[in-house]
């Protein structure tokens, strides 16, 4: 397919781990794929291999039917022939060139008038009119990021690669640009691979997600699916699912499983668990935990647990509540909700969790 990336390669450095990307046939559309994992999991290496800045030790990389690298046949297409746009972590703007110089760098094949026009187009689209003659050191972080993006998009690449595009920005800018970036990328209609270690960024930006751990890709699929159904403890951990606890399946009826965690029984969907599974990890995201005043019974969630508040922490626009209901649980609420329930340390509440929101992983 025109925009499909078919990659299966390995790359290692002396004294370092082996970075592996297996059987990845991603980007079957013009969407955004997120390469997700903690620092050091090999994401940047993979990006650099796809960009053509590193040569894989074995395996192949093909894009849109073109062979970019094939170790077995000693084929390697250098970066400059791959028609990609790279936005590296610190933006890599050329300090000795103006914004115009930076953005037009890849446009040598155009005549001067065309080049000027294209740059003007891009700068306008990204809200950077009037910045043409500024130098990178005179720009703010957000502006630099947009210039880097403009530069990457200028020559209409076939694939965009972004390495931690928002990590160098302060929090408010990051949150604001998160939405903008996705919009920009989709409008540009160029497939993109974004590397990030930020869960929220991954959730906000990506259509597809590939989770990396220890140099290997351990799960990939649509974002929502992967987030709600991590395939292993490791993935769940990386995705920062807040509650992961060992449990035992007591019964499995009609796809609804009864799991015991620390003496408490919960109902969850058995889902795709292999039959006869007994030992599992129980995963509950804080977003999926609702709270109500103790004693209220009329609500649909099957799991109603009596809990005591152990801690209340403000987290951005939300509030994170630590709970003890026989096991440790976290809930994420709005500040108003928290106020309405009069939550203080030590007070009792009822935690409600819908059965389908509890995810089970075989142990």
């Amino acid at each position: 397919m025109k925009h499909s990336l078919d990659a299966d390669f390995e790359k290692s450095y002396v004294g370092g781990p082996v970075i592996r990307m297996q059987n990845c046939a991603a980007l079957t559309g013009k969407g955004i794929t997120v390469l997700f994992g903690i620092s050091g999991s090999g994401k940047t290496t993979i990006l650099r291999c796809i960009a053509g800045l590193e040569r894989p030790d074995s395996g192949h990389i093909r894009f849109g039917g073109e062979v970019w690298s094939d170790a077995a046949r000693n084929v390697f297409l250098p970066a400059r022939l791959r028609s990609i746009g790279l936005v590296p972590q610190e933006y890599g703007l050329f300090p000795h060139l103006t914004v115009f110089g930076n953005v037009s760098y890849g446009l040598v094949k155009m005549i001067a008038a065309e080049r000027r026009q294209r740059v003007a187009e891009l700068l306008e689209w990204l809200g950077l009119e009037g910045f043409k003659n500024r130098f990178p050191c005179e720009l703010s972080g957000g502006q630099q990021q947009r210039v880097a993006l403009a530069r990457a998009l200028a020559s209409r690449p076939r694939l965009l690669l972004l390495d931690e595009p928002l990590s160098a920005l302060d929090n408010p800018t990051r949150v604001r640009l998160r939405r903008e970036l996705r919009g920009l990328l989709l409008t540009a209609r160029i497939p993109a691979i974004i590397v990030t270690h930020d869960r929220q960024e991954a959730a906000a930006l990506g259509d597809e997600i590939m989770v990396m751990h220890d140099g290997c890709m351990i799960q990939h699929g649509p974002v929502n699916e992967v987030f709600s159904k991590p395939v292993s403890h490791g993935v769940a951990d990386i995705l920062a699912v807040e509650t992961i606890l060992p449990g035992e399946i007591l019964a499995n009826n009609d796809g609804i499983a009864v799991v015991r965690v620390n003496g408490i029984s919960l109902q969850a969907l058995a889902g795709s668990l292999p039959p006869m599974t007994k030992d599992v990890f129980v995963c509950i995201r804080a977003e999926d935990v609702s709270l109500s005043s103790p004693g209220e019974n009329a609500a649909s969630p099957r799991n109603r647990l009596s809990a005591m508040v152990t801690g209340i922490v403000r987290e951005g626009p939300l509030v994170r509540i630590g709970l003890d209901c026989g096991f440790s649980l976290t809930a994420l609420l709005t500040p108003q909700a928290s106020e309405e329930l009069d939550l203080v340390d030590g007070c009792r509440v009822t935690a409600l969790i819908k059965a389908p929101r509890i995810h089970l992983i075989p142990r």
Binding site: H96, V108, R151
Partner: protein
């Protein structure tokens, strides 16, 4: 103790030879610096060491080697004479060669350092934007390494101005033809004309001072 027109000739000749010598080593020197900074290859250590030798060896030894190479009966000298009728030893060409060889290591070392200081990520970024190696070098590497390279050029020039040992070996000391400032001073001392020797020495000091000051200024990081 007056300064006469012949004396100006010596100063002018020395400066002009130093300029020529520096120009001659500029392309190969920077190319070599880039190769040493950005590439690894078989025999790299050997090349590195050989290039640095004139810095450490006694200049007369370098001069001796050049004499053997470019003398009438030497491999290069004979080839140049037989194929092109060009004589090197005892001419201004020998002066240029001596200056070039002695100041090459200064240029290569400074330029290499400057190029190594350029973040390779910029060069890689340029490659993703479609630039070939030459374009990356001239539009990214060199401009970003500009100050260090310039400092190296000035230092090489200063070294060339003061060169003596190798010069006197292969260019001799022919008045009006190959006499440089330092050779003139040596000569004057041998003739017992110390006063005039001091005059020339003063000129040398001034030239050296200006060159080194310029080099220091250039290699200081720009205040942002």
């Amino acid at each position: 103790m007056t300064w006469n027109p012949d004396d100006w000739q010596i100063v002018g000749f020395t400066v002009w030879m130093a300029v020529l010598g520096t120009l001659v080593i500029l392309p190969p020197g920077i190319a070599l610096a880039w190769l040493l900074a950005r590439r690894n290859w078989c025999g790299k250590t050997l090349v590195e060491t050989t290039v640095s030798l004139p810095l450490v060896m006694p200049p007369v030894v370098t001069g001796l080697v050049l004499l053997k190479l470019f003398g009438r009966r030497g491999p290069l000298g004979r080839w140049l004479w037989e194929s092109f009728g060009i004589e090197v030893v005892f001419t201004w060409k020998a002066v240029v060669i001596a200056l070039a060889v002695m100041s090459l290591p200064m240029l290569v070392r400074a330029a290499r350092s400057a190029i190594e200081d350029v973040n390779p990520l910029f060069e890689q970024q340029a490659r993703t934007l479609g630039a070939g190696e030459l374009r990356v070098f001239f539009t990214i590497t060199l401009p970003l390494a500009r100050r260090g390279v310039m400092a190296g050029v000035v230092l090489a020039f200063a070294r060339a101005l003061g060169e003596f040992g190798a010069t006197i070996m292969i260019a001799g000391n022919i008045p009006g033809k190959t006499t440089t400032l330092s050779v003139a001073i040596y000569n004057l001392v041998q003739l017992g004309q110390d006063d005039r020797a001091w005059m020339f020495a003063a000129v040398c000091v001034v030239l050296a001072f200006v060159s080194v000051a310029a080099s220091e200024r250039l290699s200081r990081p720009r205040k942002s």
